[in-house]
C-alpha cells in the first residue's frame, strides 16, 4: 500500500466525505479517507429517520440515503478509502499512524490533513445524578445504534433526560417499537432540539415534554426501577417539594455532544473551550499549518447539510494549500463572541485581498425573537454588517455570510452580538 498522499482525511462520516469532494472539485485527487467503522457514512448509518438534505439536495432524505449520495461521489472520483482502520496518532508534521485488524499497523504521511472525527455523547458520569448505578441507563445514541443497527430493544418503560434531537428522535422510535415513553425531561425552559422534532416525535404520540425539570435520583438495584424528577429554578437547582417518582426500566440520556478531539490534541492543535473543537481561521485551518477541521469535530452541528457545506469548504482550502494557491495573509483579525452569542467559528480571520465573503457560524446563548446579529469592529459602536433573524435559539446553529471587505477595514478584532 502506498504511504504518501497529498491529502489524508480522518473520519469517513458526512464531513470526511464532503471534504474529499471539495478537494477533488479543486483539483486534488491523491486522497486517502481513513474510517474506523466497517462502513463509510458515520453517524448517518444509524439515523434512519428523514430530515436530511433539504438544503443540499432539495429533498428530504433519510440518513443512510444522504450518506450514500456522498459515498457515490467519492467512489466515482476514485478516492481511496481505508475502512475498519483506526487512526491512533497524528503529528504536527502530518505523519499518521493507523491500526487495522486486516493490515496491522500502518503509517502514512500527507501534505495536508482534514480532521473529521465527529463527536461523541456526553455520558451520565458527566451528569452528576444521585443514586445507585443499575443497568438500564444509556445514552440516546447508544440506544439508537442498538435499535437501528443491531435490532435490539433496550427497554419497555422509558424516561428520557434531555430534549436534544437524538433524545426526541428516540422517543418516537421507542414508541413505534411498542415501548412506552413516560416523559422527556429538559432542565432548560426551552427544548434544545429542533421544533419540528418536538412536534413530530413527542406531540404526535402524546409524549409529555417537561421543561425546567431534571432527574434528581435513579432507583433500582440491578436494573433501573424508576427515577425521581424535580422541577428546577432558573439557576437549574432542583426545587424542594416538587419531587415526583416515575417508574421505568430504562433511563435514556440526551444531554449534549462533545467533539472528539483526542487526536487533534496529540497533533498540537489548539482547542476552543466554548466549542470543544479546534481554533480555526476562515479557511478552517487549525493552529497547526496544513491541518484543517470540519464537521462535528470542529463544532456540534444540528444539520448535516451545514456539515457538508463546511467540510467541502475545508477540503477545497486544503486543495488550495497543496497547490500553493493560498494568497499570503496581510494580518490576522480575531473574531469574538459578544452579547447574546456563546461562540463564533472561525475564531480568526486572516485578511487576504482576494476573499469575497466569510461565513461565520455561531450559537446564541438564549432565545431571541425578531433579533439582529451584528458584526462590529474594534469596539466601535456602529455595526459593519447586520443580519435579521426571526427566531434565534441555542438549539439551532446560526450562520451569516459577511462581506470580507468588513475585515479589511478592521484593525484588530470584530465582535458578533445580538440586539
Amino acid at each position: 500500500m502506498k504511504s504518501d498522499y497529498d491529502l489524508i482525511i480522518i473520519g469517513g462520516g458526512p464531513a470526511g466525505l464532503a471534504a474529499a469532494v471539495g478537494a477533488v472539485e479543486n483539483g486534488v485527487h491523491d486522497i486517502l479517507i481513513i474510517e474506523r467503522e466497517r462502513f463509510l457514512g458515520g453517524i448517518l448509518n444509524q439515523c434512519i429517520h428523514t430530515g436530511f438534505g433539504l438544503r443540499e439536495f432539495g429533498e428530504e432524505l433519510t440518513g443512510p440515503e444522504y450518506a450514500q449520495r456522498f459515498e457515490d461521489r467519492v467512489l466515482q472520483a476514485g478516492i481511496s478509502c481505508l475502512v475498519d482502520a483506526m487512526v491512533l496518532d497524528v503529528t504536527r508534521d502530518k505523519h499518521v499512524v493507523v491500526i487495522s485488524p486486516v493490515h496491522g499497523r500502518l503509517e502514512f504521511t500527507a501534505r495536508a490533513i482534514v480532521l473529521a472525527m465527529g463527536c461523541r455523547e456526553r455520558t451520565r458520569g458527566a451528569l452528576m445524578v444521585a443514586g445507585t448505578r443499575p443497568a438500564g441507563v444509556m445514552t440516546a445514541g447508544t440506544a439508537q445504534r442498538l435499535m437501528n443497527l443491531e435490532g435490539y430493544l433496550p427497554g419497555q418503560n422509558i424516561v428520557i433526560l434531555g430534549s436534544g434531537d437524538i433524545g426526541l428522535i428516540m422517543a418516537r422510535r421507542f414508541t413505534l417499537e411498542g415501548a412506552n415513553v413516560s416523559a422527556v425531561l429538559e432542565v432548560m425552559p426551552y427544548s434544545t432540539g429542533l421544533t419540528r422534532n418536538v412536534v413530530q416525535c413527542l406531540n404526535d404520540y402524546g409524549i409529555p415534554l417537561m421543561l425546567s425539570h431534571t432527574v434528581t435520583s435513579v432507583h433500582g438495584a440491578k436494573r433501573v426501577s424508576g427515577v425521581t424528577v424535580s422541577e428546577v429554578d432558573i439557576g437549574r437547582n432542583p426545587l424542594p417539594g416538587t419531587e415526583q417518582d416515575i417508574a421505568c426500566d430504562t433511563l435514556i440520556t440526551s444531554v449534549g455532544l462533545i467533539p472528539e478531539n483526542e487526536l487533534s490534541r496529540r497533533a498540537g492543535v489548539e482547542l476552543d473551550l466554548a466549542t470543544g473543537g479546534a481554533i480555526v481561521n476562515q479557511r478552517l485551518e487549525t493552529s497547526v499549518p496544513g491541518v484543517f477541521a470540519c464537521g462535528n469535530v470542529l463544532q456540534v452541528h444540528d444539520l448535516v447539510d451545514n456539515v457538508s457545506e463546511e467540510a467541502r469548504h475545508a477540503g477545497a482550502n486544503a486543495a488550495d494549500l497543496i497547490a500553493g494557491r493560498l494568497a499570503p495573509k496581510q494580518r490576522t483579525i480575531r473574531v469574538i463572541p459578544g452579547r447574546g452569542i456563546r461562540y463564533v467559528v472561525p475564531q480568526y480571520v486572516d485578511v487576504h485581498e482576494a476573499d469575497e465573503h466569510t461565513v461565520l457560524s455561531m450559537r446564541p446563548d438564549d432565545v431571541f425573537r425578531q433579533a439582529t446579529v451584528e458584526v462590529v469592529a474594534d469596539g466601535r459602536d456602529v455595526p459593519l454588517a447586520r443580519f435579521r433573524r426571526r427566531h434565534l435559539t441555542p438549539g439551532e446553529m446560526v450562520t451569516v455570510n459577511v462581506d470580507s471587505a468588513v475585515f479589511r477595514t478592521c484593525a484588530q478584532y470584530v465582535s458578533v452580538r445580538v440586539v
Binding site: 474506523r36 467503522e37 466497517r38 458515520g42 453517524i43 448509518n45 444509524q46 439515523c47 434512519i48 429517520h49 428523514t50 433539504l54 428530504e60 433519510t62 440518513g63 443512510p64 440515503e65 450514500q68 483506526m86 465527529g118 463527536c119 461523541r120 455523547e121 445514552t139 440516546a140 445514541g141 447508544t142 445504534r145 435499535m147 437501528n148 443497527l149 443491531e150 435490532g151 437524538i166 413505534l176 417499537e177 411498542g178 429542533l194 421544533t195 419540528r196 412536534v199 413530530q200 404526535d204 455532544l257 472528539e260 462535528n296 444540528d302 444539520l303 427566531h391 439551532e396
Partner: protein
Amino acid sequence: MSSTTRIVTCIVCPEGCKVSVSTDGDTITAVSGHGCRRGLGYARQEAVAPMRTLTTSVRVSGGVLSLVSVKTSAPVPRERLLDIMTCVRRCCLSAPVSQGQVVLTNVLELGVDLVATRSVERGSPATVHEPPHGG
C-alpha cells in the same frame, strides 16, 4: 357554520414556522404565517388529515447487517403508523438488499410501498468492536 383557527407548526424544514389555519367546517378559509409554499401545502393538509413518512427497519438474514432501514414511499395517515409497524415487524428479507428496493408493496392498501433506504450486502454481521460514538 362557525369558523375555527388553529396553529400548526410546520415540520417541513428546520425553520419550524407557526402557521395559522382557519377552517369553516371542512373548508379552509385562510392560511397565514407560512415562510414558503411548501409550508402552505403542509399546513392545509395538517389541519384536515395529518400525514407522516414512516421510517423503521426490517430484519435481514445472511447480510453484513441484521437490519435494513426502510421508509414509506410517501407520507401515510398519521393514525395508521402503528398499524403499519405491526405489519412491518412480521417481515424478514434475505441479503442482498439494495437501496430503493421495494420491501412491501401497497402496505395495508394505503397505496404506498415500503422501500429500503440502504443496501445490505451478503456476509455476516461483525461484532461491534467500538463503543458507540453517539452523534
